[in-house]
């Protein structure tokens, strides 16, 4: 199928890429609308970074095609990169340079004159509250400061599309909230299209309009967070707190209670899926009969995390 130039800002068809014998992205079909935030969700090695690299013309696909802003990134890579901004997983700052120098260099690379570059850099430094650190070398910056500066750099030329690779990793909760709020603002108020590669479910659920779940390079699920939760998570999610890791015998005991659909061990207990709230009463009765201490039991709404683990369990079962 050939992609038409007037389609959505980002369209891919059967996009694939391998490295030696390892398949990084396998037959990816995506369509991202203008002003939309799409979260590419998946564990390390799922193919998120490779996808971003192919969309920005850094890597060439082995198979399939992509259109970004109506252009083929393989052919018109520079034209695409002029209109996109990228925050790589590692901030990619030259620690021998100051914050200002790092941004000015990028501005010059993007074709701005010295005066224009200075004006834009000053504006970005002020926007990200980094004016006081402007003339310090970035070697001494914290992870959060580095991320903020790298984000300022990605937005320097007011790009139409933003590729953000793990934008909040290493940030404290307040800084994470600031960044996710900013992403939302850029999309909703400024019509920017954002591809957010992350493995943080909370971040994806909070800011993304849709989620694309990748595993071993393949698209496993695509949709709105709530729709995915409803579609993929059957039953009622619940947590059991055993005050520590649960052993397999206890997990089997819970698994055998009528109405238990799934069990998953966690650091302090287990996450389970049950048919209804009454099932929880039966589970607690069984555990009490076996004199197993339970420090907490809660029935709740399905979260992004539940969806993700349900998908992962499915992937693992497929592998087996």
């Amino acid at each position: 199928m050939t992609i038409q130039a007037d389609e959505a800002p980002i369209v891919t068809r059967s996009l694939s890429r391998s490295f030696d014998d390892r398949v990084a992205v396998d037959g990816l079909d995506l369509e991202v609308r203008r002003g939309e935030v799409l979260a590419l969700l998946g564990p390390n090695g799922a193919g998120k970074t490779t996808t971003v690299r192919m969309l920005n013309g850094v890597l060439t696909p082995d198979r399939g095609e992509a259109r970004v802003l109506g252009l083929d990134p393989t052919v018109d890579g520079d034209a695409v990169r002029r209109r996109t901004g990228v925050l790589t997983e590692n901030a990619g700052l030259d620690d021998r340079l100051t914050a200002r120098e790092n941004l000015e260099y990028t501005a010059r690379m993007r074709g701005y004159s010295i005066d224009e570059a200075r004006t834009r850099v000053d504006a970005q430094l002020a926007r990200f509250a980094m004016g006081e650190m402007a003339d310090l070398r970035t070697a001494g910056f914290s992870t959060g400061q580095r991320k903020r500066l790298a984000l300022a750099r990605a937005l320097l030329h007011d790009p139409e599309i933003l590729f953000l690779d793990e934008p909040t990793s290493g940030l404290d909760p307040a800084a994470t909230r600031e960044v996710t709020d900013l992403i939302g603002t850029l999309a909703r108020e400024h019509g920017r299209t954002v591809i957010l590669a992350t493995h943080f479910l909370g971040e994806a659920g909070r800011v993304a309009d849709r989620m694309a779940v990748l595993d071993r390079g393949r698209l496993r699920a695509l949709g709105k967070p709530d729709d995915l939760a409803a579609e993929l998570w059957d039953g009622v999610p619940a947590d059991l707190d055993f005050g520590g890791p649960v052993n397999q015998a206890v997990l089997d005991l819970v698994d055998n209670v009528d109405g238990v659909l799934r069990t998953e061990a966690r650091a302090t207990g287990a996450t389970i899926a049950i048919r209804d709230r009454e099932t929880m009463a039966r589970i607690l009765a069984v555990l009490a009969a076996h004199e197993i201490d339970v420090f907490g039991a809660a029935v709740r709404q399905a979260s992004m995390e539940d969806v993700y683990f349900a998908l992962e369990s499915g992937f693992a079962a497929e592998q087996r």
Binding site: F19, R53, N56, G57, V58, L59, T60, G77, D78, A79, R81, R82, T84, V86, T88, N90, G92, L93, D94, D95, R96, L97, E101, Y105, T106, R108, M109, R110, G111, R137, A150, R153, F163
Partner: protein
């Protein structure tokens, strides 16, 4: 290579300016890059030249000249006897060391420009900017080439001052430069710098750190240094035409390496490696 248009000078200049500014702040790069030229081009000629000057006053014959073919020994043996030792030492025997400078400086800077970007994890950011593979390669090449030539030529100017000062009053006229020296400086030295870059571009593509690139590059470059040292005294004793031809040969090898390196320098390959 994705581009067929003319190079974007604005972008190339921006990369070179940034790289050189960063290099100036890196002691690990600057210290070896300047120490070796200072020792080779200033300290060594001063010490050796002064010693030769003292020995020249005795007017002793240089038996070493007898072992050379008469055609090669002629430029020195035809000089007055008290000038022979100083001219031999400063004009010919120390000359080979000069060629180490462009080779070393270009290799150190190329390792920093290519492998260093990977090590600092700044390469990916660079690949996401609107610059063609060709312009990026040109910028990185010039980041190594221009300082190598500048350091070599400034170093040679210092060497010329020291050599002529040390031989003042004994040698009639200037010891350096002469025609052959000028060929070495303006023709052979840039070829040697390009050769160093051609090697390091290939080596850096396989390395993840500057140290690794320097070690692997050193293993390739050191034999070349010895070869250059061994042969360049002869280069200064031959005709200008032969010196030009030898320089041309080095240029051919160096440019072949650079062009091959450039053809392999694609975003896809670099991103796959980083």
């Amino acid at each position: 290579m994705t581009a067929t248009t003319t190079p974007d000078v604005h972008v190339i200049r921006a990369i070179i300016a940034r790289d050189l500014r960063a290099v100036r702040r890196s002691k690990a790069v600057v210290i070896p890059m300047l120490t070796v030229p200072v020792i080779l081009m200033v300290v060594l000629p001063l010490v050796v030249g002064y010693t030769a000057r003292r020995a020249s006053r005795t007017g002793a014959r240089i038996e070493f000249l007898d072992s050379l073919p008469s055609q090669l020994a002629e430029p020195i043996s035809s000089l007055p006897q008290e000038e022979q030792l100083l001219t031999l030492v400063l004009g010919f025997l120390l000359a080979p060391l000069f060629l180490i400078v462009p080779l070393m400086v270009s290799a150190v800077l190329a390792a920093d420009a290519f492998a260093g970007e990977k090590e600092r994890r700044t390469m990916e950011t660079l690949l996401h900017l609107p610059i063609t593979d060709r312009d990026l390669f040109i910028a990185k090449f010039l980041t190594g080439f221009l300082p190598a030539i500048a350091v070599s030529w400034i170093g040679f100017a210092c060497f010329a001052v020291v050599a002529n000062a040390v031989s003042y009053g004994i040698v009639d006229g200037l010891v350096v430069p002469n025609t052959l020296w000028l060929i070495v400086i303006f023709w052979v030295a840039p070829a040697i710098a390009t050769l160093g870059l051609g090697i390091m571009v290939r080596v850096s593509a396989r390395c993840r750190t500057t140290q690794e690139a320097n070690q692997l590059g050193g293993a390739v470059i050191l034999p070349l240094v010895f070869l250059a040292v061994g042969q360049s005294t002869g280069l200064l004793l031959v005709d200008a035409e032969i010196a030009l031809a030898i320089g041309a040969l080095i240029w051919v090898v160096a440019l072949t390496l650079v062009v091959r390196g450039a053809s392999r320098f694609t975003r896809d390959r670099v991103a796959g490696d980083s």
